[in-house]
């Protein structure tokens, strides 16, 4: 199998797993207060966004070079 296909497959499965986990953690911590909790929420949200980017790259929606 093509090396790129394997890499994209791993990225796809990983992005779903990590992204969903990050969102669940974000939801669990939503009620937490304080500077560290607020910052953690922002950073977890951005990390979930990163997972979406990786997922879209894995399925060739983003990062397609012509």
């Amino acid at each position: 199998m093509n090396e790129a296909v394997i890499e994209r497959g791993i990225a796809l499965v990983g992005a779903i797993l990590v992204g969903v986990t990050a969102i669940v953690q974000l939801r669990n911590d939503w009620a937490a207060h304080g500077l560290d909790a607020g910052l953690t929420k922002v950073l977890l949200g951005l990390m979930a966004l990163g997972c979406v980017l990786a997922l879209l790259a894995a399925v060739n929606v983003l990062g397609v070079r012509t």
């Binding site: 990225a11 990390m47 990163g50 997972c51 990062g63």
Partner: protein, 211 residues
């Protein structure tokens, strides 16, 4: 007193009760140290922003991208491998979050497990980055593309390396009894730093592999 009360609480309430169960001096110092750490992260943010804006400027002002070198256009970076390596780093962010949560819930064994997983994933990301450097086909000198790529990803890689060392030290400290169920600022700072390093990579991944 609050610790005794926390025994009758569960979940977040118990964590919040333990968090407050510190002497006033430590509580105030913790807040000041947290603010100082946030300022450190902001300064690091400015450092990366400067290089990112330089890259964006160089890229949009270039007549062609990827630029030409010796009459040949340089190749794009490998999005497939980068997506996979990104997930390794993002996954380490989740494991670090789990590590801190388990520490807060006084589960030291799980804390150690998740922390080791974070360190292993961090090293895995660095090895992936080293592999990419070996096959990328461009060099630091010669083009703005290579210079930007190696400067930004190298600076980020150094932060990951520093983070791996930092988390290793935190793990040793935690197992030597430096931190308790109510006093664990170092672990909070380590987690924030690791999340920050993850988020910087979100931007670098977009700029170099998707844009």
């Amino acid at each position: 007193m609050a610790a005794a009360a926390a025994q009758h609480l569960s979940g977040h309430d118990a964590i919040a009760a333990r968090y407050r169960d510190v002497d006033p001096v430590y509580g105030e110092t913790r807040d000041i140290r947290l603010l100082g750490f946030v300022f450190f992260l902001l300064s690091d943010c400015i450092l990366f922003s400067s290089f990112i804006f330089a890259y964006v400027y160089l890229r949009i002002s270039a007549p062609a991208w990827p630029p030409f070198l010796g009459g040949h256009q340089l190749p794009w970076f490998d999005t497939s491998f980068a997506a996979m390596n990104s997930i390794v780093l993002f996954g380490s962010g989740v494991t670090m979050h789990f590590a801190l949560e388990n520490w807060k819930h006084l589960n030291k064994a799980k804390f150690n497990g998740w922390l080791i997983a974070t360190i292993v994933l961090g090293i895995g990301f660095l090895l992936g980055q080293a592999h990419e450097y070996s096959v990328v086909g461009i060099s630091w000198t010669g083009t703005t593309m290579g210079a930007s790529f190696f400067t930004l990803t190298g600076m980020h890689g150094f932060h990951v390396f520093a983070g791996v060392c930092y988390l290793t030290i935190l793990g040793l400290q935690a197992n030597r009894g430096t931190y308790t169920g109510s006093k664990y600022f170092g672990l909070t700072a380590g987690t924030l730093y690791w999340h920050f390093v993850d988020v910087i990579w979100v931007f670098l991944f977009f700029l170099f592999y998707i844009w």
